[in-house]
């Protein structure tokens, strides 16, 4: 093998004939190259020349970026989806924050990796006592993707449940609760956190539970801390094996020790994120 390469390297002129470079590649070859690049790289490179531009519209390139069960996803997320779109457009549709289930949930594809992310608003959660204005209030705020959060003034029984049935593509996912200790208010046009009523979270930890329709369970406990900033509390992980069947995920967050009251908590949403991309979630 060494002989072969040395013979080739010995005649460099013989190898390289003029007129063949990256710019001369036919569109089909360029498309094969693009298949191995990220979607964002493909778009960047599409301005290079005509062959690259044409290749960036190739269906098979984008089909490899879409999740395997994208047709099921389209069915779930959109009511009347145009059927004559090229795969690139389908990808861009799915990358938007698509609302479904009456606006209580949002789903989108992560642009770089093509993995699905899900966000469930406080409207889509079953919060015990949400209708009782002594305990819970809904505050409109710009700090939430859903423009309103649920604020807990005080309660003995803290329980937040939720469930979602979604055709997740195969892979492993992590569930997070987006919580904030302290009431966010606006003073002089600036966001200020009012931590006066935060109490009771350091006595006992909050219990997080997760269960899926195919029998996976996860439980964890955690003290809520750091008033004044939005924190994603990890609720559990689950793995989806079969993308063709919608997976049902049930999750809950409870602190039902009735010896003490707790309050001053904002519940924004529940985030289901692919586990591989967890590291990019420093602030959400």
């Amino acid at each position: 093998m060494g002989l072969i390469f040395s013979s080739i390297l010995a005649h460099p002129d013989a190898c390289i004939s003029p007129g063949t470079s990256l710019g001369d590649l036919p569109e089909s070859c360029v498309a094969s190259v693009l298949e191995y690049m990220d979607p964002q790289e493909i778009c960047k490179v599409a301005v290079l020349n005509r062959a690259f531009r044409g290749a960036s519209f190739a269906d098979f390139v984008w089909e490899s970026k879409l999740p395997l069960n994208y047709e099921l996803l389209i069915e779930k997320l959109f009511d009347n989806f145009p059927s004559n779109l090229c795969k690139k457009d389908i990808y861009s549709w799915l990358c938007r924050l698509n609302s479904f289930d009456g606006g209580t949930k949002k789903a989108w594809l992560d642009k770089r990796s093509g993995k699905i992310c899900l966000l469930i608003s406080s409207y889509g959660l079953a919060i015990t006592g949400i209708d009782d204005r002594r305990y819970w209030n809904r505050i409109p705020t710009t700090e939430s993707r859903f423009r309103s959060i649920a604020y807990l003034q005080q309660t003995w029984w803290f329980e937040v449940n939720g469930e979602v049935e979604f055709p997740f593509p195969a892979g492993s996912y992590s569930l997070f609760f987006r919580l904030h200790l302290g009431k966010p208010t606006k003073r002089y046009c600036r966001q200020v956190c009012n931590s006066e009523h935060v109490h009771g979270w350091d006595i006992k930890p909050v219990k997080f539970q997760l269960a899926t329709s195919d029998g996976q369970h996860a439980t964890s406990q955690c003290y809520l801390r750091e008033p004044g900033s939005w924190i994603l509390y990890h609720g559990g992980d689950f793995v989806v094996g079969n993308p063709n069947v919608p997976t049902k995920v049930k999750f809950s967050m409870t602190q039902i020790d009735c010896t003490h009251t707790k309050g001053g908590l904002c519940v924004d949403s529940v985030l289901i994120y692919p586990s591989e991309l967890k590291k990019s979630l420093k602030r959400f």
Partner: protein, 484 residues
């Protein structure tokens, strides 16, 4: 021994009597021994017709021509060592069909031992064909089997590159390329120097050598996955030009595995670089015209950002078109500027109003500025001269039209409040659905402010120096125009 059904016989006869096929295959075997020719020929018939025969028919066919089997014996016996290799490569999944073959009456025949290899061969084929991927595997298997049979014959295929040079390559190596394989099987070319297969233009001799090395390594069945991987990684260590040549040659020869390998390597090279860097490093000429770059994006999702971007592109396109038109007009006319200083000054005074609008360059009005330029042009289209005048304001060098310009502007624009008039002109004529009234008002206010400031400066200057030219924020081209 059971008789095959009439349908099967008919089918087999059809195939065997297909004259074209015989001719094609015999050209393949022209170098082979006469004794080997007939049975090998019929062997090929089996291979290529297997796709259309069902499993049971195949079993029957095995028994059909004992004479054939007898002839095969002489061929297969010395090829006993190939049997082991066949076993290694055949994945036996379907035991039932294998048992069926083995229990068929032909196994009791006197040629049983000699035809064992033949049976093994068919057995492995049947086993593989009972997998779901039969359709996709079959052509590979055909190729594979062909390779095995032909290896002992050491025959060569002749290939001709575009520069005219003809070389001969071992058959099994060349047949690894689907395109060459197809050529050989369909047209029967490549069997001699005179009938060499013409390779596609993108394959030059050097890169052909590389590809044949790749084929030579990969068509040998004994390599482990790790060995193949190491070989591939070493193989791909070429510079970008070499890789490009390799990928286009492999693409024209339809060698999918090599195309994938090379694509991955090229992708690794390109990714992470900005388009400018790539253009510089690889000397890619930018063959997209300005117009193509400004083509509106398909806004399928109703994204507001794309909508704005498309509007911006529209303005830029209009701008481009106007510039082109002016350039053409330029070439036609070339008059000399003979105006007096007074004319110039009055023209400048009158022309004041337009650049003012242009020079409102607040950050968020960046888009608007683009608006302004074509707006200036479009809104005055009714007065052609005036329109031309404004065009010349925006473009580069044409002293020629100044004469017309100055007079027309003097005529149409009042001296005391040039800005107001021109503003009102604009407000009436221009229709832009994206400009909501609030934004318009803001622009108007800014422009008036600016106009007031400029006017005060001007009146001061007029007293002092007549020849002094104004320096506007975006007046670079403006200044150049008048000093030139």
């Amino acid at each position: 021994m059971w008789k095959p059904s009439r349908n099967v016989c008919k089918k087999i006869k059809e195939i065997m009597l297909s004259v074209k096929l015989i001719l094609k295959l015999s050209s393949l075997l022209v170098l082979s021994n006469n004794q080997l020719q007939k049975p090998l020929l019929e062997m090929f018939f089996i291979l290529f017709s297997l796709n259309s025969l069902r499993l049971e028919e195949l079993v029957l066919y095995v028994d059909y021509d004992l004479k054939f089997l007898g002839a095969v014996r002489k061929v297969w016996w010395p090829l006993g060592r190939l049997r082991k290799k066949l076993y290694c490569n055949a994945v036996c999944h379907d035991h039932r069909s294998a048992a069926r073959v083995m229990s068929s009456p032909s196994t009791i025949s006197p040629f049983a031992s000699a035809t064992h290899l033949y049976h093994t061969f068919i057995f492995s084929y049947i086993a593989l064909s009972s997998l779901n991927t039969f359709r996709f595997l079959s052509s590979n298997i055909v190729q594979h089997c062909t390779v095995f049979i032909l290896r002992e014959m050491k025959s060569y295929i002749w290939l001709q590159t575009t520069d005219g040079s003809i070389q001969q390559v071992e058959q099994e190596v060349a047949m690894f390329c689907p395109m060459i394989c197809q050529e050989v099987l369909q047209t029967g070319m490549g069997s001699s120097k005179n009938y060499a297969i013409k390779l596609p233009p993108r394959v030059n001799p050097a890169v052909l050598g590389l590809i044949l090395e790749y084929c030579r390594f990969h068509q040998l069945p004994g390599h482990s996955d790790k060995e193949l991987k190491t070989y591939d990684e070493k193989f791909i260590r070429l510079d970008t030009q070499g890789l490009c040549q390799l990928i286009s040659a492999a693409d024209s020869l339809k060698l999918r595995s090599l195309v994938d390998l090379t694509s991955r390597a090229l992708a690794r090279i390109i990714e992470g670089k900005t388009p400018e860097e790539i253009r510089e490093t690889f000397h890619i000429p930018d063959d997209l015209t300005e117009e193509e770059k400004l083509e509106p994006l398909r806004n399928v999702t109703g994204d507001p950002r794309i909508r704005l971007l498309n509007r911006l592109y529209e303005r830029k396109r209009k701008d481009l078109k106007e510039r082109e038109k002016i350039k053409k007009a330029d070439v036609a006319e070339e008059l000399i500027d003979k105006r007096s200083v007074d004319d110039l000054l009055s023209f400048i005074n009158g022309g004041d109003s337009d650049p003012k609008r242009v020079t409102t360059s607040k950050k968020k009005k960046k888009n608007r500025r683009q608006n302004d330029q074509p707006r200036n042009i479009t809104s005055n289209s009714e007065n052609e001269n005036h329109g031309k005048a404004l065009d010349s304001l925006k473009s580069e060098s044409h002293n020629g039209q100044m004469q017309d310009v100055s007079s027309s502007i003097q005529a149409s624009v009042m001296q005391d409040s040039p800005s107001a008039t021109v503003l009102s002109n604009f407000d009436e004529e221009y229709v832009d659905e994206e400009m909501d009234p609030a934004v318009m008002e803001e622009i108007d206010r800014e422009v008036e402010d600016f106009a007031r400031r400029i006017n005060s400066v001007w009146s001061e200057r007029q007293g002092n120096e007549r020849r002094r030219l104004p320096v506007f924020i975006h007046g670079d081209s403006f200044v150049a125009r008048y000093t030139g």
